[in-house]
């Protein structure tokens, strides 16, 4: 195939056009932001349509458009199914979103919950885990933007990565969570329509029979239900997805921003709508060998097949879809990580008496700072997208049980949660390095679960839920 189906000029024009539209949209939505609640949590009044769209758009990220095809290409049927089952994260978070809103109506971040529920030591361990994950995801998104532009247009990686970061930082800075949610709504429509069109064209051009017959002969493991690495990956990816959603402030801030009674429906709806998307993008990846397409790097297989099927015009379409997916996640993550740093680190550790106005200013500075740090880490392109994402699985899966039990059990205490987070993460990292990326989250979750169970058996914290209502500053 032609290596660069879009010219650099076209790519730059698209970038400028998108940049102007999104940044103007951010400014227009953010001009009425008056308070910290408006900026961080969109006034805590987001309705069902926007709520469902933002949850779905944020979950459809470079992970879905680039890594889901990559994992199907590498791990076959189980890679595709395992990735799709990450939707369980959204579905299982649905009742928890309702609980979160009820338990802490004045809360801002997931860190608030951990601090009050489990105490300072567990809170610091949680912040480390959460921050490592957020930075990993941010950097992977910036890198994905650069790689995408490089692959489709030949535009230098550094330029593409820089531009996408500037655009997302720009409109997040101007509009806060309101701009993020509104752009997510538009981006969701673009992504769903785009993925469905590409999937349909792929089905019409290649078809199930050819995909099955060709891969059976030339790439048999992809269709093998006893594919060893893929079998290990299946539950690992489910726990990775659960950990990502259960612990991340991206999802907590939305639960707190949605109107009362909306969160549960929004997360259920978005989870069910998201479920088939990786199946479609996975099928696209399985078609690659049939079309004689073997990418330089497996994470570019999705856009490569789509650009090949749809031609030059299609490559522009692919660019818009993937760009939307990247932007919808990057902005959400910037906003949510900024909340976490502002509320938990600045307000929690540095200036405990800061006014809301000051926190509002700090929050904007943090967004700028995060954008800059992400840009710096992205520059040397030290690793690949998948490497970074799977590495974070070891961190986030350790939070699943502490979060679930913390929301519904009074017994579990902070000491055991700290141990679960630390030892779970260490076990996940050991699994990552000794066996493979496909066990990191699973190992982390198993060890964390065992420690939490011991904690429930040997100690009763008898936590008072009222303390979350008032968001106590100290235990």
């Amino acid at each position: 195939m032609d290596y660069n189906p879009i010219s650099i000029t076209t790519a730059l024009m698209l970038l400028v056009l998108f940049g102007i539209v999104w940044i103007f949209f951010g400014w227009w939505l953010g001009r009425k932001n008056k308070s910290l609640d408006d900026f961080m949590l969109a006034g805590r009044n987001v309705g069902l349509a926007f709520a469902g769209a933002t949850a779905m758009a944020t979950w459809i990220t470079s992970n879905t458009t680039l890594v889901a095809p990559q994992l199907t290409y590498e791990l076959g049927i189980w890679g595709m199914v395992g990735y799709s089952l990450a939707a369980l994260g959204l579905i299982l978070f649905a009742p928890m979103a309702k609980r979160i809103k009820e338990l802490m109506p004045k809360g801002y971040t997931c860190g608030d919950f951990i601090r009050v529920r489990y105490g300072k030591t567990a809170w610091i361990a949680f912040l480390v885990v959460s921050f490592c994950y957020a930075m990993g995801w941010l950097v992977s998104l910036g890198m994905a933007g650069g790689v995408l532009l490089d692959t489709l247009s030949g535009l230098s990686y550094n330029v593409g990565m820089t531009v996408i970061l500037v655009i997302c930082v720009g409109y997040t800075l101007l509009g806060g969570l309101k701009a993020v949610i509104a752009t997510d709504y538009v981006q969701t429509i673009i992504i769903i329509v785009g993925v469905l069109i590409i999937g349909f064209v792929c089905y019409q051009t290649v078809g199930f029979d050819r995909v099955y017959e060709f891969n059976k002969e030339h790439h048999p493991e992809l269709l093998n239900l006893l594919f060893p690495a893929a079998m290990m990956f299946l539950f690992n990816n489910i726990f990775f997805g659960l950990g990502e959603i259960f612990h991340s402030n991206v999802w907590w801030s939305r639960a707190l921003a949605f109107r009362p009674g909306i969160g549960k429906k929004a997360y259920l709806m978005s989870g069910l709508l998201w479920l088939p998307i990786p199946i479609v993008t996975g099928f696209i990846a399985l078609s690659a060998p049939v079309l004689g397409l073997y990418p330089d790097s497996s994470d570019m297989v999705g856009p490569m097949v789509a650009a090949n099927l749809l031609g030059d015009l299609g490559a522009i379409f692919v660019f818009i879809v993937v760009f939307s997916a990247l932007a919808s996640s990057l902005d959400s993550l910037l906003a949510a990580t900024s909340d976490l740093v502002t509320r938990d680190i600045y307000n929690g550790l540095i200036d405990k008496s800061a006014s809301k106005e000051k926190l509002h200013r700090i929050s904007k500075l943090v967004i700028l700072g995060l954008g800059f740090v992400t840009w710096l880490i992205c520059l040397p392109k030290i690793t690949t997208l998948g490497a970074l994402l799977n590495f974070t699985g070891a961190f986030v899966a350790s939070t699943i049980w502490p979060i679930v039990l913390g929301l519904y059990q009074r017994r579990l205490s902070g000491d055991f949660v700290t141990a679960a987070l630390v030892l779970g993460t260490i076990s996940g990292l050991i699994g990552y390095h000794t066996i493979g990326f496909y066990v990191a989250a699973l190992f982390s979750c198993i060890v964390s679960f065992l420690i939490c169970m011991i904690g429930l058996l040997v100690k009763n914290d008898n936590f008072d839920w009222q303390r979350l209502q008032n968001m106590e500053k100290s235990q």
Binding site: M96, G292, D296, Y408
Partner: protein, 146 residues
Amino acid sequence: MTSGHFNLIWPVKDESTTSEEKESDGDREDESSAIEPSTIKATLVDFEKHSATQLKISSDQFFSHISHAINIHPTQRAVSLTGFSDGDYYAQLYDASNNPVSNTVMVTVEHHSMFKVWVIFTSGAALFLILIGYMVTKVFRHKEEA
């Protein structure tokens, strides 16, 4: 290789020695392939006498039976391959006239043992069932306390 997926790269022989040494095992370390560099024997080097247009893969070193003939772009310097069963595979670059334009490299694919796989799979399934059981009985049916 333990996941049946691997990357091959072919630096041009005339390129600086530094770049060749950097990727001396002929593969690019890939996060998701769990590549063990020792399983790729030698470095695939494009002699660039003619442009390589095809990468051929065979399960025997004499290439009597070609299992994969992959067309490549003249500027392409890497390829990501997937879905291979256990065994030794040989790869070599060819030009448009079907003449070899590189050396041959051998890649050994050896998947994880099924015992290890079943232990990990069963553990994951058990933990997943426990979580779903807890969510269904406690979380989804939870009634707010007064």
